[in-house]
């Protein structure tokens, strides 16, 4: 119906692609700021003061920065998990349980190891354990979808409850240190902390898992955009019927994607278990799995965007603690949900508005 695009409009369409990618997160964050203002005012505080305190408590001092980096590490893993699955057309709402399972698996291994081994030697073992733990929990919804068509949205949500309850039982029945909710301390291969590099980071939980997170993001990017498997996975997410026609085993792509997704989330567990506390503790995930959904959305399911979004949400999370004296940190819970809602609505709306603007511009 319309004329074929010219080279000039090629550049034009590439710019629009960028606009369509960047604008929705910007809109969503602006909306979050507005809602944040309302909530702050409801508590009788001044938004300006609160935001200043937030920034000071996060990027304004070394401890805060360390905490932001620590939280961003976990969020990078869960964001990658959700984003990777989303690229295959799957909704992984189970990152919370996968994260816990990965951390728990690492803790089990750690408790079994003899004391005093250097972390360089033991790290691969921990990594494998976390991948297996998280991967198994991700695999189940994946295979159910592939074989039975059971929608993974609900099965992942259900598994969250099941896995967390199961882990709670195991810890409380067998492994916990009395009067606490955590296991014994692991004696081998705990990762170096940032504070070991420079004492300005004293007190913060940031540790070498940061490097793992960056490596995971790079690896995810390479798989998705440079390999044949990634080509098939993205095609499956875009148009499963076309992928099937294109010699792709769609069912296999699905469960493999969920396996990888679960593994990515599981790796996030290392951050707490061998990077920070040195033991597995019930509830350590603390919502990072669900936040991963927001991170993936804001990051537009692209590994680079996910890293940026993870830093953003980590700032928000740490900032909530910093301003807790003025406004309850629960405000952050609300803002996170507002961001997800805003992004989900902004993406199609921005696309529609850009189309209208382009048409009137063309006249």
């Amino acid at each position: 119906m319309s004329a074929a695009p010219t080279p000039a409009s090629q550049r034009h369409s590439r710019r629009t692609k960028l606009e369509e990618a960047i604008l929705p997160p910007v809109v969503a964050l602006l909306l979050a700021v507005v809602v944040g203002d309302l909530l702050i005012l409801a508590f009788g505080q001044a938004p300006g003061a609160v935001y200043r305190l937030l920034l000071e408590g996060t990027w304004g001092n070394w401890y805060g920065l360390g905490q932001v980096l620590y939280k961003a590490t976990t969020l990078t893993f869960t964001g990658l998990a959700v984003g990777y699955a989303m690229r295959a057309g799957l909704f992984n709402i189970g990152a919370e349980g996968q994260l816990a399972a990965g951390g728990f698996a690492a803790a089990l291994v750690g408790l079994a190891l003899p004391a005093g081994l250097p972390w360089i030697a033991v790290l691969p073992v921990y990594v494998v354990a976390a991948i297996l733990g998280g991967g198994l929990v991700g695999f189940v919804p994946g295979i159910l979808r592939a074989k039975f068509g059971a929608h993974e949205v609900i099965t992942t949500i259900m598994l969250n409850y099941i896995v967390l309850a199961l882990l709670a039982y195991v810890v409380s029945a067998h492994l916990h240190v009395p009067e606490t909710l955590h296991t014994e301390a692991i004696a081998s291969g705990l990762l170096p902390r940032l504070v070991d590099i420079s004492s300005v980071f004293r007190g913060s939980a940031a540790n070498a898992t940061i490097v793992l997170a960056a490596a995971a993001a790079a690896l995810a990017w390479w798989i998705l955009f440079r390999t044949r498997r990634g080509y098939e996975l993205r095609a499956t997410g875009l148009q499963p019927e076309a992928a099937e026609y294109g010699a792709v085993h769609v069912g296999r792509v699905w469960w493999q994607a969920m396996l990888v997704s679960g593994a990515l989330a599981g790796l996030g567990g290392l951050n707490y278990v061998i990077g920070y506390k040195g033991y597995y503790e019930e509830g350590f995930a603390a919502g990072s799995g669900f936040l991963g959904i927001a991170v993936a959305l804001v990051g537009r399911n692209h590994p680079a965007g996910i890293v940026v979004a993870a830093l953003l949400f980590a700032t928000l999370s740490q900032g909530g603690l910093a301003v807790n004296a003025l406004v309850p940190k629960q405000m952050v819970d609300v803002l996170q949900a507002v961001v997800i809602l805003a992004i989900a609505t902004a993406v199609p709306e921005v696309r529609r508005l850009l189309r209208v603007a382009r048409r009137t511009g063309d006249r």
Binding site: M1, Q239, A242, Y245, G246, A247, R355
Partner: protein
């Protein structure tokens, strides 16, 4: 509908030549797509009016604007003298303008009566009055001669019955202006004749009918007047009695075009080039496929295709052609049977034991019937789409070989004249014809022995149709075997060496081209004839 008077219909019409519908300079765009760019139309009361144009000319959009589904961006719509521009479907229906859509607008889980009365359901108090709805349905069905069962679920009806329900739906709401969008696309020749009878009856009762079609033989057979559209605007207005198919076609396309229409009337001499002693490249034996909807979707089909031969399968859509092709291509499991392919190495490949990728490697190519869902990943670039299904051959280890992909893209784009030439263009941005060329470049621009071509020119402009037809003939000349499935009988007759008809999952006949014609094939397409010889009871 009023009872026809004793005066002959033509005199009636001459005396009461009021304008039922006048659309002037209509403009309508959807995002980037400009569907109507100054389209006009004028239809007198009691006329059967044909609205013709190629795929994408804007006919459906124009009529949907008339029916109230869209509001135009510019221009005016007048019905019976009143300006109704931008009215809603509800207002249009109330004013007696009803549309029967190409893709049926019926809710499958509801009954015929419920579908008929939806939007104006009879009620008793706050409850639905099911009996009243069914009674009204039966009464209308009897009055117009459009036979349906009021209490049956729509999901269980045949295509012909569905269309009857759609027409009844419009008439139930008092339609005096009836718009039909490509109504014969899903009908066999005898059913088409039945439809003409119904339309003529409606015309005698004083109704006005607008028929959207791109089939010129139908235009000549049934219409009184014609509007021709091209690229969103009206380019000609003609009286059927005073024009010829050639003239209409020239108006549609803007140049003289050799018509496949000629192939319909006179059987051409068979032209099987260079197949003397040809090998069988594809052999299908007793293939059975079942689906959740139908247990015998493909019911024991057998045929061979030799090198340098095109076997065309004619038949109304929905008789198992889709399932047959999907089973051979590997997109659907076969229940039983054998499919053997002779590869370029002269080895025999048992296709049913291979997955899609290995069937392709053995030498099978497949042009799917729906390029938007199957044939292309619309958000991928042209270069990425050109390796779809062949990505294993463009990899080095785990990674994709981007150099080879780019080289392949450049080569195919040039060879098949895909526009625009930029391989990084998303497939979504291409026109229908160019999208189809990408699919064809991919499937025919590689080494293959057997090609499954399903609806290869659907939704494609005339220039591209010629290109694609020529490529198919070239492949045949090069000794390939082609299985052609098309709902366009003219296309089948123009290209095939042998023609099979598929009905209810079986091949009811296979004729050489020299013996085939529309009149001959029609009865097989409706099941009135079968290969066993002698007519069987016609299907409802």
């Amino acid at each position: 509908m009023t009872v026809a008077s004793s005066m002959p219909a033509s005199t009636q019409r001459a005396g009461a030549a009021r304008v039922a519908v006048r659309m002037t300079d209509i403009r309508k765009a959807f995002g980037d797509c400009i569907a109507n760019a100054g389209a006009s139309l004028e239809v007198a009361t009691g006329e059967i009016h044909a609205l013709v144009g190629e795929n994408g000319a804007g006919k459906s959009t124009l009529m949907r604007t008339l029916a109230g589904l869209y509001a135009p961006n510019g221009g005016t719509v007048e019905v019976n003298g009143s300006d109704v521009t931008g009215w809603s479907t509800k207002e249009a229906i109330a004013a007696g303008v009803g549309m029967v859509h190409q893709h049926f607008m019926l809710v499958p889980t509801l009954t015929v009566a419920e579908n008929l009365t939806l939007g104006s359901e009879p009620v008793r108090g706050i409850q639905l009055d099911r009996a009243a709805a069914e009674a009204a349905t039966r009464e209308l069905s009897e009055r117009t001669g459009l036979r349906v069962e009021a209490a049956r679920k729509v999901s269980s009806l045949s295509v012909g019955e569905l269309q009857r329900v759609e027409i009844l739906k419009a008439l139930y709401r008092g339609a005096r202006v009836l718009i039909l969008d490509e109504p014969t696309a899903v009908l066999s020749p005898p059913e088409v004749q039945e439809l003409w009878t119904v339309l003529r009856r409606l015309r005698e009762d004083g109704g006005t009918i607008i028929l959207i079609t791109h089939k010129l033989d139908e235009v000549m057979a049934i219409s009184d007047t014609i509007t021709v559209m091209q690229l969103g605007r009206t380019v000609a207005r003609l009286r059927t009695a005073e024009t010829t198919p050639r003239e209409i076609a020239r108006a549609m396309v803007g140049r003289d075009v050799s018509l496949a229409l000629d192939a319909l009337s006179a059987p051409a001499p068979s032209s099987i080039a260079g197949t003397g002693g040809a090998h069988t490249l594809l052999s299908v034996r007793d293939l059975r496929v079942s689906t959740p909807m139908r247990e015998r979707a493909v019911d024991g089909v057998s045929f061979d295709i030799a090198a340098g031969e095109i076997l065309g399968i004619a038949g109304v859509e929905g008789n198992g052609q889709t399932e047959l092709i999907e089973a051979i291509a590997g997109l659907r499991p076969a229940g039983s049977g054998r499919v053997m392919l002779r590869g370029s190495d002269a080895g025999e490949h048992d296709l049913l034991s291979l997955d899609v990728r290995h069937r392709g490697d053995a030498g099978l190519s497949h042009i799917p019937e729906d390029r938007h869902h199957r044939g292309l990943v619309l958000d991928y670039t042209v270069a990425e789409n050109l390796i779809l299904g062949r990505q294993h051959h463009f990899s080095r280890g785990a990674a994709l070989d981007h150099d080879r992909i780019a080289a392949n893209a450049a080569e195919q784009i040039a060879a098949f004249d895909v526009r625009p030439r930029d391989p990084a263009t998303p497939a979504r941005a291409l026109s229908g014809g160019n999208q189809q060329k990408v699919v064809i470049a991919r499937e025919m621009g590689r080494d293959f022995q057997v090609l499954l071509a399903t609806q290869p020119t659907r939704g494609v402009d005339v220039g591209a149709i010629e290109f694609i037809h020529q490529r198919l003939r070239d492949a045949r000349a090069a000794g390939k075997a082609i299985l052609l499935v098309s709902a366009d009988l003219a296309e089948i007759l123009a290209l095939s060496d042998r023609i099979a008809v598929m009905y209810r999952g079986r091949l009811v006949t296979i004729l050489p081209r020299s013996e085939a014609s529309a009149e001959k094939l029609g009865p097989y397409m409706t099941g009135a004839e079968s290969a066993g010889g002698g007519p069987t009871a016609p299907a409802t």
